[in-house]
Symmetry: C2
Subunit: 418 residues, 2 copies
């Protein structure tokens, strides 16, 4: 069987499975999730052994310490995956919910009802826990899932996916509901991108290169975020204490994530009072500051920023700083250089807040709060499959509801069109 | 300027316009629409003159009578376009509506608010009224629009789009909010498909070839329907009078549209009573029937159907007929051969209705009503930009709401993440 035939066959099987999955009750799906969690527990040693093989291969291939850390499964990481499944079990099933309902003058009753999307492919890198998290969310929302993880985690991913399918099968999970692509070459991703006959959605998670490749190749709809170049804009009317607390949190609490601040924008009327104090706080956290001329005239140890810095997602203790003449310039900067992810204003003015939230074209816009809250858990969604900076279907954190679509069910008693 | 540079420049201008459009009030947008309608009235003669040039070129190029009819603008068609604009003016503005709102334990208030998508391209063929309908709906929902009609209607389209932009500008429509691509080669469509930096959505309307080309080429999200292969399934428990009325309407009332029935499925237990009477009705309408062996054993003048007939969108007085052993086979037939558009069951059984609507994977599923109701107007949306057989973002008839997305606006008072 060629790679093409293999992927097409996976798609066909997933499609059949998805039709069965779509009709399962919430109770049935929860029993399946429960059995998946039990099976992971039962196979714990086997899974850890598979992970050791990946770790050895990774060490031999010279993976960095950070990558090895992301790859490694431990007893406590297994427990946290299993706890994650039980959390998803507790979430409300979105399938079958009536989104709206109305009756037409001719008596037709139109019901817009939430249904699964169908077949979803998740393409990701290194972390094996994505295998479990993504599969479980897709199944809970009634979708079949095709998983394609990175080569470095292939043994772990196969062991995990096998356990999920085997456990689920005991409780009525259709065959081929959870499949894993064994081929870890880029060519396999290309085949998935062409599988529009069977695949309804691809969600890529990983580096910008992978995501860009999929976006530019795919005939299947893609929901993604490239990166998080998040801004905090400190307005002239900001409460300075609050601004310092928010900026410290947005930059330093966890700098390696997509909702951390990468650029600080400061209104020029407040810059001389705010920047020296803020710089002192950042110094304590060893944050490297790269600023425009105006900011460097105020704080002398800020390095010179170049054009690339305004586009940069550092994911590190580095921050770009710019002094802007007004709110309009801040908005323009964010819309031009940003990634439409999460941006905040700190302000005492309701009018400024309204302009900022209306005009900044991002998935989440904050007034007087840290950008770090863009997260399915923090939003109260209970779980998250990813964050979308796209505008179609889902924007911002994506939970169970975003893994569904709707259909119209129309009840008549013989109506015909005149 | 190369074609590539021209399209990129249009995209950049549209993007700037879209940011201004997004902040316009409902009242402002309605004044713009009103001025557009007035301008069409004022320029009526000029527009009809442009259309005459297209008609002459069309006749010289040997366009069919049906195509010339679709291309032609008349006084009454102009009036109907203008009335269409006034109807859209009366519709409720979806922008700014709070979809949901909740407060987190830490006091953060999360508001999910409806906003415009941004820049939308509409790629269509022949009918010049699409220029007006599509532009007006996009603008009402706060989006900039790039229109790309067919070569045969280029003079009409340019005259119409010029009138819309000029009229709108008097009431504050941003420059470049309505643009038309002058190049009518396929290469211009390809350039639009690559414009993912500025374009948020492409909606193709036209033949399957055009739509397939865009789907397979585009890096920009596409919402579409290829075709409408719609089914009516007459269940064993159907009220036969009702079934005959619904099937007659679904096939004959307007056979050339996407929500007309193309295949009739009949439960074998009812076929001998139903098919002869149904065939008689179809004979009166000169409908050509193409059936499987079982149907031909019952009604002798049904021609033999081949495999292709089950996939066919005839858009004509031709109907494929199949006798099925049970509801399950009907569902399988529809999911396999259909186009996920509109499918109906005629039944007296609630259980059969529930199974059918749960298992048929289509945008709209009907119980005891004609498939002909799949239409924005019939749904009460007031207007329609198209019908989606996709599953992401919009499914079924697409009105104003489907031309919007959402953002999260989050109100805090200094919250930081622990």
């Amino acid at each position: 069987m060629t790679l093409h035939e293999e992927i097409v066959s996976m798609g066909r099987h997933a499609s059949t499975a998805s039709r069965k999955l779509a009709t399962l009750s919430a109770r049935r799906k929860n029993a399946i999730l429960q059995a998946m969690a039990d099976e992971l527990e039962d196979r714990r040693d086997r899974i850890l052994e598979a992970n050791r093989r990946d770790m050895e291969a990774g060490r031999a291939a010279g993976l960095s310490g950070a990558m090895l850390d992301r790859l490694e499964l431990t007893g406590s990481r297994m427990e946290s995956m299993i706890r994650g499944i039980r959390n998803v079990t507790a979430l409300k099933d979105p399938v079958g919910i009536k989104i709206s309902r109305w009756i037409r003058p001719n008596g037709l009753e139109i019901v817009k009802v939430r249904v699964p999307i169908g077949v979803i492919a998740i393409v990701y890198e290194s972390r094996p826990n994505v295998t479990v998290d993504a599969a479980v969310l897709c199944i809970k929302a009634g979708n079949a899932v095709i998983l394609r993880g990175g080569s470095e985690a292939i043994h772990s991913n196969l062991a995990l996916a096998d356990a999920l399918q085997a456990g689920g099968t005991r409780e009525g999970l259709p065959e081929y509901a959870v499949q894993i692509v064994r081929n870890t070459d880029r060519e396999a991703v290309r085949e998935l991108c062409r599988l529009n006959e069977y695949l309804d959605l691809i969600i890529p998670r990983g580096g910008e290169g992978l995501i860009r490749f999929i976006t530019e190749t795919s005939r299947v709809p893609v929901i993604k975020h490239y990166k998080g170049v998040c801004h905090v804009y400190v307005d002239e009317s900001a409460d300075l204490e609050m601004a310092i607390r928010i900026c410290e949190n947005a930059k330093c609490q966890r700098p390696g994530v997509c909702n951390a601040m990468e650029t600080l924008l400061v209104h020029e009327r407040i810059a001389e009072r705010f920047l020296p104090r803020m710089a002192q706080v950042f110094r304590r956290h060893d944050v490297e500051l790269r600023g425009d001329e105006k900011s460097r005239a105020i704080v002398r140890d800020i390095q010179a920023a170049c054009e690339d810095d305004w586009y940069a997602e550092y994911l590190d203790l580095i921050l770009a700083v710019r002094v802007v003449p007004d709110l309009e310039s801040a908005v323009e900067h964010i819309n031009h250089y940003g990634s439409h992810h999460s941006d905040a204003i700190v302000t005492g003015s309701e009018k400024a807040a309204r302009r900022f939230t209306n005009e900044v074209d991002s998935a989440t816009v904050y007034i007087n709060a840290s950008t770090r809250f863009t997260d399915g858990g923090e939003f109260g969604m209970g779980a998250e499959i990813g964050i979308s900076t796209d505008k179609l279907h889902a924007r911002g954190p994506m939970g169970l509801e975003e893994l569904t679509t709707y259909k119209y069910v129309i009840y008549g008693n013989g109506q015909i069109r005149e």
